[in-house]
Symmetry: D2
Subunit: 131 residues, 4 copies
């Protein structure tokens, strides 16, 4: 019945997700909109918003203590990788690139750690949790 507190690694991953959410959302809605050009090319701009949304949600699942967090971390890592690549190709968004890469690494580590059991999500994972 006792709750296992979030590990130091998970706390760092939550922070990496929230940082990446902050950088992508803020950069898109200020820098990108103001600079224009490639920065507001729809598929790039939407990718930044998708990245912000999944980072916010990936953080939320870990904060909730959810057994599904490996799935949201895995998807978050992929979208962060894609977003980092798109930002790097356009240039002048170094902080975003760095935040995306740190978040991707941290989420990949969380997903791998939890995914060792080979489980997809809920039921198997919850069997592995302290009750």
């Amino acid at each position: 019945m006792h709750h296992t507190p979030a590990s130091a690694e998970m706390t760092a991953c939550i922070q990496a997700c929230l940082d990446c959410y902050r950088h992508c959302q803020h950069t898109a809605l200020t820098h990108c909109l103001e600079v224009g050009g490639e920065h507001i090319e729809p598929s790039h701009f939407r990718l930044m918003m998708d990245c912000a949304e999944i980072c916010r949600s990936s953080a939320a699942m870990m904060i909730n203590g959810s057994p599904y967090h490996a799935d949201t971390c895995r998807l978050c890592a992929q979208i962060c990788r894609d977003c980092a690549e798109s930002c790097r190709a356009i240039g002048d968004m170094d902080e975003c690139v760095r935040a995306c890469e740190l978040c991707a690494e941290s989420c990949e580590a969380m997903a791998a750690q939890t995914g060792k059991s080979g489980s997809h999500a809920g039921s198997e994972l919850s069997a592995a949790r302290p009750q």
Copy 2:
């Protein structure tokens, strides 16, 4: 470059996700807290909150016009199925069960439809994930 407007099917799926978010979040924070007992058993209660969170985020990805929506739909469907089962086992949460099942069906259809096209996000991810 032109935007394809959300299909009628996607609009219905967004609504199903938002309905399920509303039912799970509201039922947990009112009915479950007030009734107590099994309704606030931590793993059940957290499952309702996880379901609310992923439904909110799955809706967001479709609303954003995101190419990753098949992935969030697929995960949303699974969490909804688990939540429906947990609510059914406890009983007296028929509206939640129904909202979860409708959302799961709708999200499964969206994920299947998008995955077929071999699009940007869905297919690679799903191929790489343990089933």
Copy 3:
């Protein structure tokens, strides 16, 4: 201690907020980005995103059964009015304008109704705020 179920009026207001969130977020990230020009003028575009965010949060507070919902409804109504005006001035966003206006009306009615009772949150805050 017993929970009063959400009234029909509150359920309609939740739906109006979620509809407005959906229209503003989707229109900004598809139509506005693709049309360009005035549609992506930073202060207009950010207003649409602010409107989406406050609608999502105003819905959340009602769904949570929060005693603070009158405050979030009041702020939501104001941002929706501003967003409707900005969309009307640019043109070709009739669905957004309509969704914003319906949400503003519904939120104003909720805020007025709750404020009357001198409840927990609403009245003190509104008394303290510049009108």
Copy 4:
């Protein structure tokens, strides 16, 4: 047209909001659910969830560069004060109390700073911003 970057003070306020969101949401869904008793008394538990929601949204408005952030900061500060009081009365939630108080102070400072112009929200504030 140039964007004024978020001030150091605003960046700190965003972080305080995200920290408070994390502590309230996590503590409610793990510690409170597992300890039970007063910790899951509905009005206390919902207050923690309301606090988490408004902190998440207050952070979002600042991240978006929104001219309405003074309003969300003001409301966030009030809910954080109420939540800190409720957590202190129950006891054994010192980290939550501290996160709520830090967030309240930071949000009050942001609201006061922006509110100097006496404006309520959108139009007046945006007139005061660099375009």
